[in-house]
Subunit: 267 residues, 2 copies
DNA sequence: GGCCTGCGTTCACAGGATTTTCACGGCTCA
DNA sequence: TGAGCCGTGAAAATCCTGTGAACGCAGGCC
């Protein structure tokens, strides 16, 4: 089950011997490694699309904890591994609670460091779902990821990049309620800032382009206080609004909630 | 967001001193811990619905590696942490590559062990796109934490956020009597003000949406002067005690029918 | 370079949905 | 039987979402 994965790794460490030895091994393993001599803003790390970040606390200097915290908050999907020569239990606990994934004591063997990076990165396999397959069809909607285009019934939708990625995510998670934070995380690639309304705005744009008439939204449903759910109503959907409420439960049981929950058994 | 996560942990270790100390801390943190003296089949672990498994390799004896491999294959969503007194780099690398998430050297500080378990669970959860656990099924009720949705028999319940979180807590504590303070603490995330009736109001809302009208409530039972208990079975003495114990999962039986009060660490 | 255009982001506000509070009456238990 | 507790309906307060519009930025064009 352990398919070889290509890992994009950045190392922040001034111990050039260690970095050199490690980079040789990672290169042999086919990883992409980037050596950084000092801390760089989390925003720049976002652009690097890393799987993992290995850093020596001593390089960070004064604001090491603050930096760690910003990193973990901004890039919750990034595997963060700290290595230090000396550290106390309290420090390690603090770091791990802050969001660090692993904490290694130096001196350490490159092979073990790599194994730990792999362990931490294993999760990436599934999280950023590989979405290359054939066209996705949901109701009257058809999404062609390869062509970067979506079609609804008669014509093609003219979607911008973000709109398309959002739609793709929604359609890919048909039937599931997605939290705003999760949407933002997966479409934008980093954590949502407090008070950010971008998701809402893009949902509106999508709705405008996607849905015909608007007594009730047809594809994108709001879950108050939570997020949004993408689900096409049963075809032929001429339910009168006042009847809809009565009918909804039985309706949904048939069409709506065939939502497969493959959740636990990933087998 | 909500409070810290409740972790369901099993420990396979014969070092009773270590296990005892750890269990005290985990209990204080509100985790559910189960101590096992020897390896048990992966299938039985599945039933425990664990977040994490902490094990000492030496307890496993001969077939330690085979057992580890089976565990990791059968329960890909379980966080596995190995702790050993002595180990070589090769052993650690082998374990980590096999699917083990973290490898800790003994002696180790309980607090750090817990922090590492948290880190591993956090990561596991993220990898599934914030999926907490598989669908929880209680009687005719099914709760999908990942989707913020609950289904009862024929259709899906339309629950608000608080309602859902309350239901989730209740179902997760099936059979236990929960004090109002404890409920409030764990759903709202902070202490309940004197005279606050919010819990009662939300219990009513849940009952309205959950239960068919009948003389007695079917799922949520009131314990006068104490709180509420969630149980699809008839209250008190519907089934014989020994059967009841058999029926509930082994993890839950230990806490079964005992009052849980608000001994939660604030913050 | 300067201008135009399209895109993504941010802001403010109104309308609604949800949550909290309150009052009253029925219920439980000593 | 009485005091305290719980269920309930509804008002009040709070919070969330939909929406229009403005802003800043980058790329294309003259």
């Amino acid at each position: 089950m352990n398919t070889q994965q290509t890992i994009r790794l950045a190392v922040i460490d001034d111990d050039s011997g260690f970095v050199t030895v490690l980079s040789k091994r990672t290169e042999m393993a086919g990883w992409q490694q980037r050596a950084l001599s000092s801390a760089i803003p989390p925003e720049e790390l976002v652009a690097m699309k890393l799987n993992a970040l290995l850093l020596d606390l001593t390089v960070l200097g004064e604001d090491a904890w603050g930096y760690l915290e910003r990193i973990c908050a901004t890039l919750p999907d990034l595997g963060v591994i700290v290595c230090t020569g000396q550290s106390t239990v309290a420090q390690r606990v603090r770091g791990l609670r802050l969001g660090v994934d692993d904490w290694i004591a130096k001196p350490c063997h490159p092979e073990e460091v790599m194994a730990r990076i792999e362990a931490v990165s294993r999760r990436r396999r599934r999280s950023r779902g590989e979405i290359e397959a054939g066209p996705v069809v949901v109701g009257e909607l058809e999404i062609r990821a390869d062509q970067f285009q979506a079609f609804v019934g008669d014509g093609s939708l003219d979607l911008t990049r973000r709109e398309f990625e959002l739609l793709q995510l929604l359609a890919d998670s048909k039937g599931q309620v997605l939290e705003r934070e999760a949407i933002y995380q997966r479409v934008w690639g980093y954590a949502m800032a407090h008070g950010d309304r971008s998701v809402d705005v893009f949902i509106r744009k999508l709705r405008q382009k996607l849905e015909k008439r608007s007594s009730r939204w047809r594809y994108i449903h709001t879950h108050f206080g939570v997020g949004y759910r993408f689900d096409p109503e049963p075809p032929g959907g001429g339910i009168a609004p006042e009847l809809a409420e009565e009918a909804s439960s039985s309706m949904e049981s048939q069409a709506d909630s065939q939502v497969v929950h493959s959740s636990f058994t990933a087998g």
